[in-house]
Amino acid sequence: MTAAAITLGLTLLLYLAGAVVLGANLFLRRPVLLLAGRGLAIAGALAHTAAIGLRCVETKSAPFATPGEALSVLAWMVVLAYLVSDIFWRLHAAGPFALGLSFLLAVGAGIAPAYRGVPDPRLMGSGAVSFHIAATLAAIGAFALAFCCAALYLVEHHILKSKHGLVWLKRLPPLLTVESAAFLLVAFGFPLLTLGILAGFVANGVSAGWYANTHVLLAFAVWAIYAVYLFARLAANWPPVRTSYVLLVGLALCLLLFFVPSATHRFG
């Protein structure tokens, strides 16, 4: 077992423990649990950074040259997006979701056979392909957190309207905070996604029949749904409940984009 795989294993444990501790804090509201959960998330992110770095050294390639590696980087992006969100908006209620999702993605990375496979030769020297993947993964990381904020918004909105389970409101971030956090995360992720898609075109060129490629079409669908969200939020005066549903659909499309097999994307 390589040093990168061992460090990734440690990362898994830290993410899982962080998710459990922050989940327990949602119920028990103990400052010590919050502190411990944050500490585990930071330790997990640091261990993950080390795992990714070690993997680069081992393969002498970009850290997302195989499907497993790409999953690992995506998990890392989600955790980074969570840590930044927690600093700015005290979004620790999103911790169980973010760390839990990262744990699952990192498990996927660990068990994917190609984690120890041969790197994609296209990534050995292509800056455009590397940027295409890095920007897209960072965007999906931000969208994953935006999804969590949207889900929190819908839950809180339902509690406030129905007046059932009001004690939960004290455990969750304020309604306006999650709504604006979701918007800012999308506002950060959308330009990255746009640049990532453009870099993909630059790297591969526009080949004949691109419009019949599932992956390309899904990428456009993802881009379009977040464009719709931004338009609806900024110009069309949609109610936040509706824009929150758009974000839920958005992440579902992101996951499809990531996992649907594609002829042009070796691990797409």
């Binding site: 007046k163 409101l169 309604l175 109610p239």
Partner: protein
Amino acid sequence: MPLVMIGLSHQSAPVEVRERLAFTVGGALGDALGRIKAGLPPNGECVLLSTCNRTELYVATSAREPDGDAALLLAGARGLPAGEFAPYLHELRGHRAVEHLFRVAAGLDSMILGEPDIVRQVKAAYTEASDVGATGPTLNPLFHRALFVAKRARTETALGRGAFSVGHAAAEMAQSIFGSLSGRSVLLLGAGKMSEATARHLAASGARSVLVANRTFDRAARLAEALNGRAVHYDEFPAQLERADIVIASTAAPHTVVHRPMVESVLHARRHRPLFLIDIAVPRDIDADVGDLPDVFLYNIDDLRAVVDADQAERRQEALRAEALVREEAVAFWGRLRSQETATPLVTSVRAKMDTIRDSEMARLRQRLAHLPPEDWEAIERFSASLVNKIAHAPTRKIKDFAADERSDEKMETVRELFELDGAAAARAGEEPPP
């Protein structure tokens, strides 16, 4: 030094009795403290804690039984006969008095469990007593510790969290919607006490812009001035709904004054900004179907009371943890206090006895070895002092441990016998040990 608490509270006396024995901080309290202090022995200490729910006198004196006089002193401070209050007075001594004060400061003995105001009241009572020189080596550390324990109970448990009143619940709900209330605008419909109290809670949470609309403009102007806000004419309030984030409705109108079309008409201009409507009027001021509109959150007095009740239920669970913390702190504090008060004189006596033996042995040695040079005597002096220190170290530590022990009196007596000390010189606390 014996410690006694004597007083009455909402648990032992009705309000008619409590109000007769109440003292106001800065006024009657200072005079009462002066009278009580004058009635105590020279080294006596006292703190008088007087709130709307309790009047309690904490006394520490060097006398063996100060409690017999404490009730007289308390009632006398108000110029009333003690007999009048005797059935309502409760008295706690030693460790139990310490634990009681810690419970009071933490809000565990409050009418509304965990209410935060009691910390300020305990602090004010202590400051007042300290200012008139009524506190000393027993009550100073006791009250400092009580305030520390209160802080621990509130930070380490959720005892201080949640809403304690309808106004507080409204402010908490507003924060659940908006987060920080700074920059949020509040519109008050009606200038009654309830809306004022709620607005004050919101202002304390950061809300700055307050508009007051009332059928009588003068009343609106007076309340607006008190809240550092602005009065508007009553018929202007529908237009203000477009700008307001929080509306507190508490008019005396016999029918609703805020209707669905009125709110619906401003929703487009509000661009989905949440509107929090607090209807604390009975009969209600806001049509119930207003709450069905998007981005509008309508809460009436029952909804807010339900929030207070739910928080109270949560605090009751937290109180168990806070009680354990208070007990642990009280035992530790009482142990330290007894150790200080009981052990210190005994340790001093033991050391004095050893030093006496050392001095007499050194004197005999000087006669026998008079030919030794001064530098040798210096070495012998250092050696003998070091020897006594080392021999005294273990008994000193043990005496301090004994002082906090259940059978401290018995053990102290054994130490006195062991070192053949004069019993009168050693300390006798004569108070009940901690449980």
